[in-house]
């Protein structure tokens, strides 16, 4: 029974992998190389798994204790151990090398990537796009208040035309590389879109990044992938990848920091006036 069940484990695992309905979602970014490294790792490790377990099962069948049978006495075999060491090292290097090459791409955003800030807080997402100057203004968590939820430095000229999207969907232009600058104002979060195959933590006190080039139009859910308190599982956002025209239209509807500030000032004045008149 024992060898039979061991065989079942091996065959069952292989069949499960072939017929599983549960596998990666269709990819929507340029990171197909990541999928390829996964595939490569799968074939190599899967081969080793089947080979080692197959050998073990064979031993259990072939060398199962019998009356009057005795085990061999063979303490070690230098030759065999060296062969196995060398083969394993080659296999491991074969996995590592492509992995590091793709990692180098992952951490090197192209020059022309558009910077977009994704800001996390318990438990929702906000976004900031550079305006026409293409540069994001500086921020500081200490500046944050009801009128300035992004903590913008009001005197920074680069920040005046920044486009602020608080708690709403983010749109991206198809095939346009984007460098996400990730910022948190409270605890750790993680900006994760499974279809993009990419993720990175948001860490309060610093700015982290990764880059992608969206390759498939559609709407994708943003999940938080770093435990951030009781609302962690509900911290969702939405990103829409669309063609140039639609993207332009969306962009035109958004407000800049300056506009929002003036709006707020006006509101405050009205409030003040309202209070005075009463």
């Amino acid at each position: 029974m024992v060898p039979f069940i061991l065989l079942l484990v091996i065959v069952g695992s292989v069949l499960f992998h072939i017929f599983t309905p549960w596998y990666s979602t269709p990819i929507a970014s340029n990171w197909s190389n990541i999928d390829k490294t996964i595939e490569l790792t799968f074939w190599m490790t899967g081969g080793v798994y089947v080979a080692v377990l197959g050998f073990m099962t064979y031993c259990v069948i072939r060398f199962r204790s019998k009356e009057g049978h005795r085990a061999d006495y063979e303490p070690e075999s230098k030759k065999l151990e060296i062969i196995l060491t060398v083969l394993t090292t080659i296999g491991v290097a074969g996995l590592l090398a492509p992995g590091l090459i793709v990692w180098d791409e992952y951490v090197s955003p192209p020059e022309d990537a558009m910077p977009i800030e994704a800001m996390g807080q318990q438990w929702y997402w906000s976004f900031r796009l550079p305006g026409e100057d293409g540069v994001l203004g500086t921020t500081d968590a200490r500046n944050i208040n009801a009128d300035n939820p992004f903590g913008m430095n009001k005197n920074d000229p680069n920040g005046q035309d920044d486009i602020l999207i608080e708690g709403d969907d983010l749109h991206l232009e198809l095939e346009k590389p984007v460098k996400f600058l990730l910022r948190s104002i409270d605890v750790l979060h993680n900006f994760y879109v499974p279809q993009f195959r990419a993720k990175m933590d948001l860490v309060p006190g610093m700015v982290t990044y990764y880059w992608i080039r969206p390759t498939l139009a559609g709407g994708y859910e943003i999940l938080c992938a770093e435990l951030c308190g009781v609302g962690h599982h509900a911290m969702r956002g939405f990103v829409k990848v669309e063609g140039k025209e639609d993207y332009k239209n969306w962009l035109d509807d958004q407000s800049t920091f300056k506009a929002l500030q003036e709006e707020a000032k006006l509101e405050n004045k009205e409030k003040l006036a309202f209070h005075k008149s009463n």
Binding site: P21, C59, S65, L84, L96, N190, K199, V203, G205, A234
Partner: protein
């Protein structure tokens, strides 16, 4: 192997201190064997709590519409489950329980070198467990920060248990480390200083090598956790900012500023990664010995196995940041840590090869301990290979923080070491109690545990491929990822988990029932060559070895030596006393 090295005795034997009252004999005992049992029972008791927590978590994941527990409770349960299993169960069991029981017996010592300190170590551990347990009943309950306790959220209001749970958790960890250090120094010094004559380092069984190396790792690694716990306590209670940058909590600007959350992660994983091997190395050692005994064959490549244990131990200190590839640390660290991580795969793979090569041309007895060893190889190999995904930095990116990680670490450092612990209990139970565990219940326990765990964790990897994040109270509406078939898979996993949980109840019953009513074990029932089975009494009494300490003539693996009549030669039997098989005038293999 060689029987040449048996040095002259250098010291007179010292009279052993025997306990004089019931209290000092049974409760505040200084006998390492009893301390081991105390450690073991306490670890299993708190481990059982963690097991029950996992049932609630699994029911919540499979049937979110029932809302059997609230969000806050769910996060508290995952936190306590993880921390208890890793630190308070696995570490305490392998080092506190197996270390205490086996080290003196296996190296030929009468006890640990500092028996009083050893006793204090256990009681300190008990206090740590109680402090942790009390947090279930304090206002706000235990912490729900995740077992990694990442700041800032660990000490802020959005996380359950921030009133007192997190404080008790950190204090308990500090107490645990103090207790462990007392025990750990004891294990290391006993192994280095109290081996009997002839017990050279290379004649020690791999069990002792595994526990020894793991203890050294723990003595270096736990201080990193200790300082991070103290610093976080300061951040929480004294408003210091070691790990806290300027931040805003629900619209309110806090007074923290200048600290680094990533610093905590470096300290935590500088402890956390060696911790994996603190659990794994004793398991490696024990499983090597069990396979050898039950296959009636010496462990293949013994010296390679020793160097692999030591090498893995050393390398385990320079791989920690592979837990932090997507933490926001300098991304160029990824190149270094991916390389070191994949290098560590080589000695680990060699160990697996040597286990299966030990079976080759063996005389395999499919006893319950051997079944657990085979199951260990399956699960450890599986978890080790998925480690090649997560260790290879860019492959980790899509899989990190998903169920793939949960499946990986449960397979490699949950199920695999636990299977070894269970196999080891079936193996050494006759030595500890003088009775055998019930075979039928044991086989039932084995099959449900092994097959059940495999059915839990193998398919779980695929949830990770889809991208389902871990630590989610519920998935909600995420059609692209969490299809109805994925939800069905979660129901299946939960059912398997409950079955495995039930099998552990059978095991607990078996242990208590067999300790009283089991078949009385014959002396050395597995015919093992290592020293712990060669004591004059079974179970061994205080002082272990009767009037005179044994003298060691050979390694622990003389099984099926050609020319000998029995298929094993105990370590304390010299060549001239070995009973030769018919037609042999000497042992068939020249000593090396």
């Amino acid at each position: 192997m060689s029987e040449s090295i048996v040095p002259e005795s250098e010291l007179e034997e010292v009279e052993l201190y025997h306990a004089k009252s019931w209290w000092t004999e049974k409760v505040f005992t200084q006998d390492a064997k009893l301390i081991a049992v105390q450690y073991g029972l306490t670890a299993f008791a708190i481990g059982f709590v963690a097991l029950v927590l996992s049932w609630f978590m699994r029911i919540q994941i499979a049937f979110p519409e029932l809302s059997i527990i609230s969000e806050g409770t769910y996060y508290q349960f995952i936190t306590m489950h993880g921390m208890i299993m890793v630190v308070y169960l696995l570490t305490a069991l392998f080092l506190g329980a197996f270390g205490n029981y086996l080290i003196p017996l296996m190296v030929g010592a009468r006890d640990m070198v500092f028996p009083y300190l050893n006793m204090v170590s256990y009681w300190t551990y008990l206090v740590a467990v109680l402090v942790l347990f009390v947090s279930f009943f304090t206002p706000g309950g235990p912490t729900g920060a995740g077992w990694t306790l990442y700041p800032p959220q660990a000490i802020l209001g959005g996380t359950p248990g921030q009133e007192s749970g997190i404080i008790l958790m950190l204090v308990s960890l500090c107490i645990f480390i103090v207790g462990f250090t007392m025990g750990g120094l004891n294990y290391v010094i006993t192994i280095l200083q109290a081996r009997t004559r002839g017990m050279t380092l290379m004649r020690m069984p791999l069990t002792v090598w595994g526990i020894f190396t793991a203890t050294v790792l723990a003595l270096f690694a736990f201080p990193a956790l200790f300082v991070s716990a103290v610093m976080m306590l300061f951040d929480k209670l004294l408003m210091t900012s070691f790990f806290m940058p300027a931040l805003v909590e629900f619209g309110e600007n806090l007074t923290y500023g200048g600290g680094s959350p990533i610093l905590f992660q470096h300290l935590f994983w500088f402890f956390g990664h060696p911790e994996v091997y603190i659990v794994a190395l004793p398991a490696f050692g024990i499983v090597s010995d069990l396979i050898s005994v039950h296959a009636r064959k010496n462990i293949f490549g013994f010296r390679m196995m020793v160097w692999a244990i030591v090498g893995i131990g050393a390398l385990s200190f320079i791989v920690w940041a592979h837990h932090m590839y997507v933490s926001g640390m300098n991304p160029y660290f990824g190149f270094f840590f991916a390389t070191t991580t994949l290098i560590i795969a080589v000695p680990t793979a060699l160990k697996v090869y040597n286990w299966v090569l030990t079976l080759w041309k063996g005389n395999i007895h499919l006893t319950i301990p051997m079944l657990f060893c085979l199951a260990f190889i399956v699960t450890f190999l599986n978890g080790g290979l998925t480690g090649l995904f997560l260790g290879n930095v860019v492959v980790d990116v899509p899989l990190s923080d998903t169920y793939f990680v949960v499946a990986h670490f449960h397979m490699v450092m949950g199920i695999a070491p636990v299977l070894v612990i269970l196999g080891a209990i079936y193996h050494w139970f006759p030595l500890i109690t003088g009775r055998m565990l019930h075979d039928g219940m044991g086989r039932f326990h084995f099959w449900v545990t092994f097959i059940g765990s495999y059915l839990i964790y193998f398919p779980m990897h695929y949830l990770g491929f889809i991208g389902v994040p871990r630590r989610y109270y519920e998935m909600g509406q995420t059609e692209a990822l969490y299809t109805s078939s994925a939800a069905d898979l979660n129901v299946f996993i939960t059912l398997a988990a409950l079955a495995v949980g039930f099998a552990q109840l059978v095991f607990v019953f078996n242990v208590f029932w067999s300790a009283k009513k089991g078949i009385v074990a014959e002396k050395n029932p597995w015919k093992a060559a290592s020293l712990e089975w060669q004591t004059p009494d079974q179970p061994p009494v205080h002082g272990n070895f009767g009037k005179e300490l044994p003298v060691i003539y050979r390694w622990a693996y003389d099984y099926s030596v050609p020319g000998a009549e029995d298929d094993f030669i105990p370590q304390d039997v010299p060549n001239e006393k070995v009973k030769l098989a018919k037609g042999h005038s000497q042992l068939g293999v020249e000593s090396t």
